[in-house]
Point group: none
Chain length 224, copies 2
């Protein structure tokens, strides 16, 4: 198993690396968020241990971006208790967390527990909503039986809406989730993508699937 370890403290990195390698795992390390993202896509790790307090891109942001592409298990390292709430509160798809200081042995145990539990959770299965189905892994979308080619952004929007079709997402939330806090994109941009997405779904026979709730946000139209 290949583990990506992300922490900016070299000493901690070495310590943990040793423990993980001793557990028989292959370890790739990254010192900051950028490097983490690079390795996450290059090395395609089977597990990620991610510190929250990173320079520049913090752990939350890194997690968010990785989650756009992959379902790889992620375990957070938190320096303070109050970060824990954050980890749990955010819908980042974190699998567990460990508060510093921790014993390397405990970390290894956690990782084993997670990997064991996540084994049978295969087949993430496409998200569906009526005749719409979206398989983020395969980057494939169908509506009314027809294949629709979506761009990365379009899929991002649809993916988020499909996660909880009942909920209304504000524009701010969409932007924060899809683009991240770091690159503040204009509302107009979101609108543009939304328009393109709507056009594609409409053209494929999906009708007016995305509903605007004036001054609140957007959601998928409820099915009858």
């Amino acid at each position: 198993m290949k583990i990506l370890l992300v922490d900016d403290d070299p000493r901690l990195r070495d310590l943990v690396r040793l423990a993980l390698e001793r557990a028989g795992w292959q370890v790739v390390t990254a010192a900051d968020g950028q490097e983490a993202l690079l390795h996450a896509s290059r090395e395609v790790p089977d597990f990620i241990v991610l510190d929250i307090g990173l320079p520049e891109l913090d752990g939350f942001e890194v997690c968010r971006r990785i989650r756009q592409r992959s379902e790889v298990p992620i375990l957070f390292l938190t320096a303070r208790d109050d970060e824990v709430d954050c980890v749990l509160g955010l819908e980042l798809g974190a699998d567990d967390y460990v508060t510093k200081p921790f014993s390397p042995r405990a970390l290894v145990a956690r990782i084993k527990a997670i990997t064991k539990r996540s084994q049978p959770t295969q087949k993430p299965a496409a998200l569906t909503h009526g005749t719409l189905s979206l398989d983020p892994q395969a980057h494939r979308c169908q509506i009314a039986g027809q294949e629709v080619a979506l761009t990365a952004r379009e899929q991002g929007i649809l993916h988020l809406l499909l996660q909880d079709p009942v909920r209304i997402r504000s524009r701010a939330e969409l932007i924060a989730t899809i683009w991240g806090a770091s690159s503040p994109v204009s509302d107009r941009t979101l609108d543009s993508h939304l328009r393109n997405l709507r056009a594609k779904l409409e053209q494929a026979g999906g009708g007016d699937l995305i509903e605007t709730v004036h001054a609140v946000g957007i959601r998928l139209r409820t099915l009858i």
Copy 2:
């Protein structure tokens, strides 16, 4: 039968070599990963006994690279129990493992068991996708009934795509898998090989089989 034995501990190497030779096999040894790869391709062994904890290139990496070329049975030597999960978990195509310390006699017994079992397990069957078939062992590829001569890189790309035709592979992933993380090859290089591969498949009547998903990666075109 010729056996390649890879371990960095000279004493263990001698001990095991003796036991293997006593069992009537020819033995080639390597002390590190590089040497192992060299011998694996030069000597074309019938069996490989591979320690995990090697300097520089570890056993997993060595196994991965050998598997790109060959289905030769590989037996891992693991230093600790917890490495075992790893060996089994990874889709490296390991055939068995033995935990250190072990008796040379037990090792010989394992090797015999594996060779016996893997005899009738011939015909790994070529990978197929529509009219395309690829037999990595034989380094042979057919499309639309026509034979296509592929270079090593071309086959590498096609092989990876065929492993899971649904999945989209990012350029980074392709590069990491085919070239290994150690030699970071330029995107343009991948493009060049991709172009050659496409041209060959196209010319052989396979049509436009490899699909680019902009900003995401490439995959095999879905068949209807």
